[in-house]
């Protein structure tokens, strides 16, 4: 890595982008190999109706008679054209199926992120400042309980609380008719987003609390106070920038987890995102769709991690000046 230096932050971003592409290429090989190993797609599609003749016809239609390498290359080039092949179940181009679903899911994740990140930073920092006092004790225990609850339990509890049994404020499910966008039905977004926030915020805020406590104990924070700086300056200028660096990494991993872990939440709320698409695709053995989604989720991981590293570097001069 010693030779891979220079160029400041743009140079670093470029190197990381190239590295990210290499990672995605390797992921594509693994995804393709893994889905190949699942068995014969033609047999999967035809199920019990499979006769040797029909299998033969379908195999030809799906290019399964070609060598594996050719199949891989044609699939791989499809990624660059955004087509990702043709869905076995619907016979539509996978790219067209994905588009709206991707937007729907992204909306959920972005809403959840925009709410949960500031919320967890505030809760975590405040708990650290009030360490071992009432707010800290209550919030830390509450966060621990929430972290321990799986999303589907949270989702069901929210539905019971706000839609069905206790109150009747919000819709219990959030379907979006084809041809419409979810922001046309904002009521339906509240519970899925709340579920995701509750899935993410407790963990991030616990990490933020730990990181902030560590920073508040450092000599430079004590020194800032002994210099007579106002407490506000001590916190915002001296403590927060140092505490938030490690939290970026956690936020990235959590958001990336959301991109994959959204499946359950979308299923519970019957929300038409990539999660429910993935679920249908797996049930239907719709291999091209599964492959495409796996690639997209991998890309989300790579991109978020890159952003997290860039964020960490920006707030950490020791790393920045080394570039």
């Amino acid at each position: 890595m010693k030779r891979l230096r220079g160029g400041g932050i743009p140079g670093f971003v470029l190197r990381r982008a190239l590295l990210g592409m290499l990672v995605l290429f390797l992921v594509s090989v693994i995804v393709f190999a893994a889905t190949q190993a699942l068995g014969d797609p033609a047999r999967a599609i035809l199920g019990r109706e499979a006769t040797p003749d029909r299998l033969e016809v379908l195999r030809k239609q799906l290019n399964l008679d070609q060598p594996v390498l050719t199949q891989y290359l044609s699939w791989f080039s499809g990624i660059f054209h955004g087509t990702f092949g043709t869905s076995l179940a619907s016979q539509l181009p996978v790219g067209d199926m994905l588009g709206p679903r991707l937007v729907n899911s992204a909306l959920l994740v972005v809403c959840a992120a925009v709410i949960s990140i500031p919320l967890s930073i505030i809760i975590g920092s405040y708990a650290a400042l009030r360490r071992e006092r009432k707010f800290d004790k209550v919030s830390s225990n509450a966060m621990l309980v929430l972290t321990a609850l799986p999303e589907f339990v949270v989702a069901v509890l929210l539905v019971i609380l706000f839609s069905t049994t206790v109150l009747h404020l919000l819709p219990a499910i959030s379907p979006v008719p084809p041809g419409h966008w979810p922001w046309e039905y904002p009521d339906g977004l509240i519970l899925p987003v709340a579920t995701l926030v509750i899935a993410v915020a407790p963990y991030v805020s616990r990490i933020m609390r730990a990181s902030m406590i560590e920073v508040l104990e450092t000599d430079y924070v004590e020194m800032a106070r002994l210099k007579g700086l106002p407490e506000r300056t001590v916190l915002y200028k001296h403590a927060l920038p140092n505490a938030i660096g490690p939290v970026f990494q956690v936020i990235a991993i959590t958001l990336a987890y959301l991109a994959g872990g959204i499946v359950v939440v979308e299923y519970v709320f019957a929300y038409p995102g990539i999660g429910s698409l993935l679920q249908d695709a797996v049930v239907n053995h719709d291999i091209p769709v599964v492959q495409a989604l796996a690639m997209i989720i991998a890309a989300v991981y790579v991109i978020l991690n890159m952003f997290a590293d860039i964020g960490t570097i920006i707030v950490t001069p020791r790393l920045r000046t080394r570039l």
């Binding site: 000599d219 020194m223 200028k237 020791r318």
Partner: protein
């Protein structure tokens, strides 16, 4: 405090007056008890004590600050007519950094890594009402020049990690003096700096305090450093000031047995004396005895000592001691350094270890350039130099811990492989290493017995009952009792841990013992005891030792030969007494002259007195030329 007393204080010109200060843990265990002292404007008061004596706690209390888990129980810290301990948060914030400022122990961790140094200097000014950018810029430039750092904007845009340790500490000083404080608290600001940097930092502190007429409280565990910078000294033991007086009197005719023993434990450049440590260790808060806290370790101990805590006893004007026998103690002969070191006869027929043309690298950088050294049988060879001189790299190469080297290292007539991995078991047994930090070098999950006994198993020397027996014997030899075998490292003090590390190294009867800064993490009295132990072991067992240190006076007490390293090359190499007594090289002379010691401090005190008159610098108006 009555109005009369206050008037008296103002008349004597005390910048700060501390009365009856009590600090305890939040659960009520007293940490600092009944502390009273004052500091005049322009005066530097040294506070000396070993770890756990409460000296840092006292320093911070002058800023009205108590660390987590501690609280200030009672007492007053008067700054003019304001009591710091009565102030609310707003008043305290205004006080800190303007009237009273603080210079922390570790500059590397006390500067915010995420902020440029210029920003950190500027906010110290801004926080105290100086909002004019132009004025602040001018003031910062002035401060930078006063601490001998570049004042150009480019330099101020640097981050702390782009500065050396000495530069970071001078930024700390600039920040502390920026608002021309009336009182400045310095908490071991030179610990961790090498002698040259330490000397410049000390000179800066003295000059700034004099120039600004600031009172200074200088906290340190190093008596020689305190002697170099302070005009009066308070010695702390177990949370109390046990002796307080003018520096020269206090060190020359100590009136408390503890001070006397501390002074005796300081290694001296002038003669190779046996260092005498203080047996036992200081009681921790909560387990302090009802009477005099030093009594259990005191040679003059008598039954009355245990009855109640002795009140301060005036020895002469301005010199007090909390010892019921103070007047006897002060009449004892001038502090006697230990007797002369009797070095074992060096057998120079064939060197046990010889380095030929040793060149070592770290990555692409050559850090050692052609080192040639011989270690004779029964000899202790000291390797000295400033940080970055390559002394530890040499030691690590010998032990095979640093393996990026060329040249030859011979053990007897055997050429050694570069890394310890590639060496035979017997070679590994013959070269043993004791590390600098005994807190990191012992496995916390292993008992002392397991740690010390492990080499016996690894080298197949002994096992079972025979091994246990040898471990017990070895522990006795390093002055620990055999019962220590069942303890774990966290139950031991720093000095005890280092003894365990030495026992582990010696149990396999090595032919060469490499000691890497083995005392630098320890208090003076403990350091003396460890050096005493190593000296005795060397005489008894005929050890051959490589002793790496940055502490020159220590070398006189232990090593027959010395090699001075600078930037990875040998500057001077030969007999210890000859080289330290009559250095031939400018670099060696420079190292020696920068080493603080009680003797040179006394000479400087005389010079200072003639320069400023006998009274200790009240409102000295001297420009801060550095």
């Amino acid at each position: 405090m009555s109005i009369d007393q206050q008037a008296a204080v103002t008349k004597t010109g005390a910048a700060v007056t501390v009365r009856g200060l009590q600090i305890a843990t939040t659960s009520g265990v007293p940490v600092v008890t009944d502390l009273s002292f004052e500091i005049a404007a322009g005066e530097v008061l040294g506070v000396v004590g070993e770890s756990g004596s409460g000296k840092t706690t006292v320093g911070l209390s002058l800023l009205g600050h108590a660390r987590r888990g501690l609280k200030i129980v009672s007492g007053s810290v008067l700054l003019g007519d304001q009591d710091v301990l009565e102030m609310d948060d707003v008043a305290l914030r205004r006080l800190r950094g303007s009237l009273v400022s603080y210079v922390p122990q570790d500059p590397a961790s006390s500067l915010n890594p995420a902020l440029r140094i210029g920003v950190q200097l500027r906010e110290a000014l801004k926080a105290h009402g100086s909002t004019s950018d132009a004025e602040n810029t001018a003031r910062i430039a002035e401060m930078m020049r006063e601490v001998a750092l570049p004042d150009d904007p480019e330099y101020l845009r640097r981050y702390p990690h782009q500065l050396s340790g000495g530069q970071q500490q001078r930024i700390g000083l600039a920040m502390a003096f920026a608002n021309r404080p009336r009182l400045i608290v310095l908490d071991e600001p030179t610990t961790g700096l090498d002698v040259t940097t330490q000397a410049t930092v000390l000179a800066t502190v003295r000059d700034l305090a004099a120039a600004y007429g600031s009172a200074a409280l200088y906290v340190s565990h190093d008596l020689a450093v305190v002697a170099a910078v302070a005009s009066r000294v308070a010695v702390m033991y177990a949370g109390r000031i046990v002796e307080l007086g003018p520096a020269d009197q206090l060190f020359e005719s100590s009136a408390h047995p503890y001070t006397r023993r501390l002074v005796g434990a300081i290694p001296r450049l002038t003669g190779s004396r046996v260092l005498v440590g203080i047996p036992g260790h200081a009681p921790s808060p909560g387990s302090r005895p009802p009477g005099c806290a030093f009594a259990p370790r005191c040679q003059l101990h008598s039954p009355e000592c245990d009855e109640k805590v002795p009140e301060p006893l005036q020895v002469v004007g301005g010199h007090t001691s909390r010892c019921i026998k103070a007047l006897e103690v002060v009449k004892l002969q001038a502090v006697t350094p230990g007797e002369r070191v009797q070095s074992p006869r060096v057998d120079s027929s064939a060197p046990v270890l010889s380095l030929k043309n040793l060149v070592a690298h770290y990555g692409d950088t050559e850090v050692l350039h052609s080192i040639n050294l011989d270690l004779e049988h029964h000899e202790c060879l000291a390797i000295v130099g400033e940080s970055g001189s390559g002394k530890t790299t040499t030691a690590r190469a010998i032990a095979g811990l640093h393996r990026d080297w060329t040249g030859s290292i011979r053990l007897g007539d055997l050429d050694l492989a570069t890394s310890a991995h590639a060496r035979s078991t017997d070679v590994r047994r013959q070269i043993q290493y004791v590390f600098q930090n005994p807190y990191g070098s012992l496995n916390p999950r292993k008992s002392v017995g397991e740690t010390v006994g492990q080499p016996l198993q690894v080298f197949g020397i002994a096992s079972g009952r025979e091994a246990d027996h040898r471990v017990a014997e070895m522990l006795e030899q390093v002055s620990l009792s055999a019962s220590y075998a069942r303890r774990y490292p966290d139950q031991l003090s720093g000095g005890e841990r280092q003894r365990v590390a030495i026992a582990r190294a010696l149990i396999s009867s090595p032919s060469v013992l490499v000691c890497d800064e083995v005392t630098s993490a320890l208090d003076v009295s403990v350091q003396a005891a460890i050096v005493e132990l190593l000296g005795n072991l060397q005489r008894e067992l005929g050890l051959s030792m490589v002793f790496v240190t940055h502490n020159l006076p220590l070398v006189r007490s232990i090593a027959q030969k010395i090699v001075v390293l600078a930037n990875g090359s040998i500057v001077e190499y030969g007999d210890t007494a000859a080289i330290l007594g009559n250095p031939q090289q400018e670099y060696t002379r420079h190292l020696i002259s920068n080493t603080p010691s009680l003797e040179t401090a006394r000479m400087e005190a005389v010079e200072l007195a003639s320069e400023f008159g006998p009274s200790h610098a009240l409102h000295v108006t001297r420009s801060a030329g550095i």
